[in-house]
Amino acid sequence: MTPLAATAVGKRYRARWAVRDCTFSVPEGKVVALVGPNGAGKSTLLRMAAGLVRPTTGELRVFGTPVRGRIHPDVSFLAQDRPLYGNLTVREMARLGASMNDRWSTGRVEEVLALQAGVDENAEIRTLSAGARTQVAIALALGRLPRLLLLDEPLSDLDPLARDETLRILMAEVADRGTTVVMSSHLLTDLREVCDHLLLVDAGRVQIEGDVEEVLARHRILLGPVTGESELEGARVSATRTQRQATVLLRDAGPVPPGWAEVAPDLESLVMGYLRASRDRRKR
């Protein structure tokens, strides 16, 4: 059963479309990187999948069930502003999670909290740093024993150690329980090792979707003289130029013309290429 599938999903806020005609499906057991510039519609997509926002058009399905105004029992959602009750202690917050869920593993929450060095279970939530709040929120999300984990910018306010810790916890979750993870992030370097599926959105639309290795294999970065750019075959995604040299990101590139060097892109340079393209489109 596909953990998450969207068919022609759109969301309009007054005059502006936050998400438009998005169609994609997330394969089971994958770790999906949801990337795109600020305002691309990543959060809206995740909130729609969590049943918090109703699509204006189209439909989202979670494990085959259409999402209609409430979260699917097998889904956990980490919201970007990490909503927690400030006047509760971490321990009480965990108890609250247990009290609000039919299926809940106190053991799992304890286990995750124990792995997080910076979180004191007796501290009140409001005294915690932003990073520690995120860690508590992740522990609570895992307490629901989800089969699909939706994470909105899970790494953004974590320090490097906590980021490493958190990614380990998430990857262990994938290894142990086969959980599907969809996470939005701006930290492309951290996504590289953990994500095997890419969902790149811009201006509310899906730009590329697919297995990371396959997507990377379809793209090439070519470096060569500015004057020879017309010789390149393939779909040009974006290019940066100095006075003499051009660096071009191509999809489905043809043979490399003489005088050009070919580099295989990594996730970061690929995404950056697409983001640049979107920025240029918007300017025009």
């Binding site: 049943g51 609250l96 299926r103």
Partner: protein, 329 residues
């Protein structure tokens, strides 16, 4: 879910319990002090009726001067409690969650939105209502002990007495609470919901005051103008009074005033002045005087209608709150 809500409402619950303990203690103490004061001023028998009061001159007046403001304070407490429940329990109930975004946390757990909402409403409202009703009972118990020396003298239809009796305070509290909750769910701002809720509730109370008694059947008391029976409301609610002509039709007010003036002017001075006056009235067509009144025994019915009116409003507000919360994302 229940634990969660109880934990999140802990402060409010503690304040309610504190208010109950303090309020109850004060009232019990005041009542016993009052009984002592009545006894020492030989006023104990005057509580049921002032007509056969053995107390020395001025004792009643002294007692009333000393205790009146305390009675007023007690009535005031029961009158404003519903508004306080609305402002401090109802308004922040959803507004604070929406303001801080914690509703997202609740909406992404396995409890349904509707269940979450109802549990929150019930956990916040029921203890508040219990405290209100207990305090209301204690105040009633105290004021009843003062009898006609206290505010009971004015009868159950006095707006302040009416507001603290029977199911009315509970009905007002229900509406104030749901009004706050609804406005909170709509505006998503605690402060706005508190102030708007309070304003709307006060306006509602003013506009709806006395509406319920219109539906309670009234009775007409009549007496010939010549008899010396004095028509009295006797604690009931006086709706209308005036003169009737020989056919039993009410004499229009203006006409009746003119007749009274004319008869007063023509009546001679002397011991039979009253007889001459009434005879003059009868002669000029005002045969009987009448009084339309809702008897004080029907006050309970007025309270039931009042509660039904506010109950209907509460249902509407509840539906509105459900709608507003389902809309939130």
């Amino acid at each position: 879910m229940i634990w969660a809500t109880l934990r999140l409402q802990r402060l409010q619950l503690l304040v309610l319990i504190g208010a109950l303990v303090v309020g109850a203690g004060v009232i019990v103490l005041l009542r016993s002090n009052m009984l002592d004061a009545l006894a020492s001023a030989q006023l104990t028998q005057c509580v049921t009726t002032l007509d056969e009061c053995p107390a020395p001159d001025g004792a009643v007046k002294a007692f009333v001067t000393e205790w009146d403001y305390l009675f007023e304070a007690a009535r005031f407490l029961i009158i404003v409690l519903p508004a306080l429940i609305g402002v401090f329990l109802g308004a922040p109930l959803f507004a604070a969650e929406l303001e801080q975004g914690t509703h997202v946390l609740a909406f992404t757990q396995s409890v349904s939105r509707t269940r979450w909402m109802f549990v929150k409403l019930v956990v916040a409202l029921v203890p508040a209502l219990v405290v209100l009703v207990l305090l209301q009972y204690l105040v009633w118990w105290w004021l009843t002990a003062a009898g006609v020396l206290g505010p009971r003298l004015n009868g159950p239809f006095n707006p302040f007495n009416f507001g603290i009796d029977h199911v009315s305070p509970a009905a007002y509290a229900l509406v104030a609470f749901l009004l706050g909750a609804f406005l909170g769910a709509v505006t998503r701002r605690t402060l706005v919901a508190m102030t708007a809720g309070l304003t709307a509730f006060v306006a509602l109370r003013v506009v709806l005051s006395g509406v319920a008694s219109r539906w309670v059947p009234s009775e007409r008391r009549e007496a010939p103008v010549t008899s010396d029976v004095n028509l009295r409301a006797d604690g009931g609610l006086e709706l209308e009074s005036g003169m009737l002509d020989a056919a039993g039709r009410p004499v229009p007010k203006g006409e009746s005033l003119a007749v009274i003036d004319a008869c007063k002017a023509s009546a001679p001075e002397g011991p039979d002045a009253q007889d001459v006056f009434t005879a003059c009235l009868a002669e000029k067509g005002s045969v009987k005087s009448y009084l339309t009144v809702i008897p004080d025994g029907s006050a309970w019915l007025a309270h039931v209608y009042d509660a039904a009116l506010y109950g209907g409003l509460a249902v509407l507000l509840l539906a509105g709150t459900v709608w507003a919360l389902r809309r939130q994302g």
